[in-house]
Symmetry: C2
Subunit: 506 residues, 2 copies
């Protein structure tokens, strides 16, 4: 018996394997749909310099149908692109080197697919780009076998109010009551990390409103070039293919990579034993392989630029942590930019201790990636590996159970998520070591703080003991020396006070 083979379209692949994209059960499907639409809403606003105003409405009927509508005040979607954006898997605007919440060109299509397979209903999209004279309304379904959109209806109306943005409506089978807790946590943590956004969330038994508390947006990330340290053979080949015939290796390096000037490129060629004037198109396969591995090894590249990224910054991180965890001690580290496989990234870590944090047998972990709160699959995240397995907290004077919380934020032009559901970050070595450095830096500060606390306690104990005997000592010394007892007592008290003030040091 011979085998019969066939090709699946990307739509059919994800239709058959919806668990992979997070749609594994009716509760998780609701959570995932809310996430995907909200993350698109943020990308359409914040990333383009617009203060986000995002409205989410969720209803359910007695048959288990969930009606979900998410509206933003973003840049809108060109009417020519709407069908593909909602009806074609792997079609997207986010395949560039710039930090964004969405990356796979899959999330919203997956929600559309899930709606379609559980209720047979199309997605409804209402959108207008900035300064558009018209508002467009589409109903779109996906032709799964072909991975192409099917337009069920289009309506065009005059845009009299100057509105711009996108409203997306879906009808899917789901379990809202089971999804509620996680959705609420997701919305709250999203609001926490984006204090410049207004988020209104209305659903059965859950009504949330977060007004923006600041109206300054972080700088919008720009689209950049790949970093030379992160190339692979295939990437080099593709780049060389689209290069002119006369281009030299030097010109190729300077023209295509982040932060590579003529001086750096020359130094690299010398170090790696390549002729800078060699024509790039003449390199053979094994030379390209060598070039890639030398580029990965070379330590003389500049650190990648951070302008493709939009980190939170230490200040915002500390404020956020204070607001949510109300700890006794908090510190944050925003690491310098680094890169893996050509993608720049920044790791931010905050550590909070004591106060309202409950003691536990291991550190409490709050994970974020490109400002998305990650709530599922903690057990397999690189942050968990670093915080729970790699670090021996006793070195930092922490004995469990302890009231210790760690917040990690990975931002990158491509976060190495372990799955397209975007719930856990993979243990890419470069990222892991940056995370470890960040956590250890925070942990050292904690040790300092705890040492100081310990010292203070020690001094306190010493002071208490000394004070107990001061009267006796003053009296006896006065008797022996004839010096006035009150004077002696006051001198002795001064001594103790000044020693305590110096933290117990001589």
């Amino acid at each position: 018996m011979s085998e019969r083979f066939r090709q699946l379209s990307p739509s059919e692949f994800f239709y058959r394997n919806k668990e992979i994209a997070g749609f594994s059960n009716p509760a998780r499907a609701v959570y995932q749909a809310v996430r995907e639409l909200m993350e698109n809403a943020f990308d359409a606003t914040e990333m383009h310099g617009i203060l986000p105003h995002i409205t989410v409405q969720l209803k359910e009927d007695s048959e288990g149908r969930v009606f979900l509508a998410v509206e933003d005040n973003g840049i809108g979607i060109s009417s020519l692109e709407v069908p593909n954006v909602f009806g074609r898997v792997f079609y997207g605007s986010k395949y560039v080197l710039r930090q964004s919440r969405g990356v796979f060109g899959l999330g919203v299509k997956m929600a559309v697919l899930y709606a379609q397979m559980t209720t047979g209903q199309p997605v409804k999209v209402r959108t207008a780009t900035r300064r558009s004279k018209f508002i467009y309304e589409f109903e779109v379904m996906i032709s799964i076998e072909k991975n192409i959109p099917v337009i069920k209806s289009i309506k065009v109306s005059k845009n009299n109010s100057g509105w711009h943005g996108t409203r997306v409506e879906l009808v899917l089978r789901g379990n809202w009551s089971q999804a509620k807790k996680r959705v609420e946590e997701y919305v709250r943590r999203t609001a926490l990390i984006a204090p410049y956004a207004t988020i209104i969330f209305e659903a059965p038994d859950l009504s949330l409103k977060f007004e923006r508390t600041m109206s300054k947006l972080p700088p919008s990330p720009v689209v950049g070039k790949p970093h030379p340290k992160g190339v692979d053979v295939e990437m080099l080949k593709m780049m060389i293919e689209s290069t002119k015939k006369s281009t030299t290796l030097l010109e190729f390096l300077v023209g295509n990579f982040d932060g590579v000037g003529a001086a750096t490129a020359t130094k690299f060629c010398e170090w790696a034993g390549f002729d800078p004037n060699a024509k790039i198109k003449n390199l053979k396969n094994d030379e390209i392989e060598l070039l890639a591995s030398k580029m990965q090894e070379f330590s003389g590249w500049r650190r990648p630029k951070a302008n493709m990224l939009s980190p939170l910054g230490e200040e915002l991180l500390v404020e956020g942590v204070k607001a949510v965890l109300n700890p006794e001690f908090v510190t944050a580290v925003s690491r310098p930019p680094s890169s893996y496989s050509g993608y720049p990234f920044i790791v931010e870590v905050a550590l909070a201790y004591g106060g309202a944090i409950t003691s536990a047998e291991a550190p409490t972990l709050l994970r974020f990636a490109n400002k998305i709160p990650l709530l599922y699959d903690e057990g397999v995240d690189v942050s968990t590996k670093v915080v729970r397995d790699k670090i021996d907290w006793r070195i930092y004077k922490v004995e469990f159970p302890a009231p210790l919380a760690i917040v990690t934020h990975v931002c990158s032009t491509k976060v190495p998520f372990k799955g397209v559901g975007k719930e856990a970050v993979a243990d890419v070595p470069e990222l892991e070591s940056e995370l470890e450095a960040g956590v250890r830096e925070c942990a050292r500060r904690l040790r300092l703080y705890l040492s100081r606390l310990e010292k203070q306690l020690e001094v306190k104990r010493w002071e208490t003991t000394i004070r107990k005997y001061i009267d006796d000592v003053a009296r006896s010394t006065s008797y022996v020396t004839g010096i006035d007892e009150n004077l002696l007592r006051s001198k002795l008290y001064d001594l103790v006070r000044s020693k305590v003030a110096r933290g117990g040091n001589r």
Copy 2:
């Protein structure tokens, strides 16, 4: 600034997101490549009634290049299909309802992509189908942007020896020394679950040879139809589309679904309020939605057939567990077939206690899916959820730390893996409840065993106490009654013995 959109090919998508397929670092890449090739080797043999003979050779050079070759004695691949099978993502033979290790049409392509991006080398394939007069040798690369194979060379030679099977060779950058431990565990556990296979594994510092210990293969799974309980609106629509115009609902149900005869179909139509003679092509969208939801709800369907599946069986499971864990107590349950989303599945659970199992704060878990050992991502697997979170082991007389191990084996025509790396199974409700039922059944048997142990201990204590006083009692009684002391003593000993023999019961 408006957004620029573009479409990614499936190859490009996975090239950009290799972490999703398990290729997240140089060690994991080696592990994943070994897995994908070995699993294909099993599918090419065992699934087609051939006793597997699988050879794996792995070498490395000083530059970090890993040379991997896997050879099987399977059915081979038609020379027409070789390029697509190795060079086209989502192209496969396994998109049918039948249990197999591979399912995504992605694994081997991912390994080829990874080799190509790290060393620029093509995959080498040598293959012959059964009774083929020729042996074909290919070198294939992937055109990533187009998702089509590029044939670098073909060689055809006479097949004088009657050889059939496939040999695949890859060159990738990887870290063998870091991968070794996991790879060894993977090979060992694969051998354990397939005692009818011979596996020879040769690598630096690791040489494993497992000769088959039995030469009876489990029955090969057959290709089947979807179960009616697991349809969705989209599936129904696609099925209706490829149905003749004159087909009635009754004929449609009988002809397209697993285990649906005319009687069951009639009963269903009556219960659901559908006219069995209605032309299926005339159903409107909301009727199809209703039909899907009624089909999901109806409790009168037969359980899905198990002949698409290839479970291990309780006996093999018990033997396997004894061989590996050497416990004091072991029991296994093979649950009856069930289904989710139209896919039949069987859950098998074994429980082992005491003996060589070390005590731990939680049950030790060994997971398998379609005979694949799952080693990574335990923290997010549905088995972990059931065994660690849902079951209160005190009910079953287990107090932690305890020497308790649970083995789970999920087999299905489509295991709901959480990622294409096939490391964790999603918490699909139907599957979760079957797993829970299986674990609880085993746990009840453990409780019985532990109760009996307890009783025995109790009787033992009673016996010890009684024996201590038997001499005194015999002596005193003899004194009072005049009956011979030795006779009395022997009677009393008899009494104790018989009570102990009855397990302490009267």
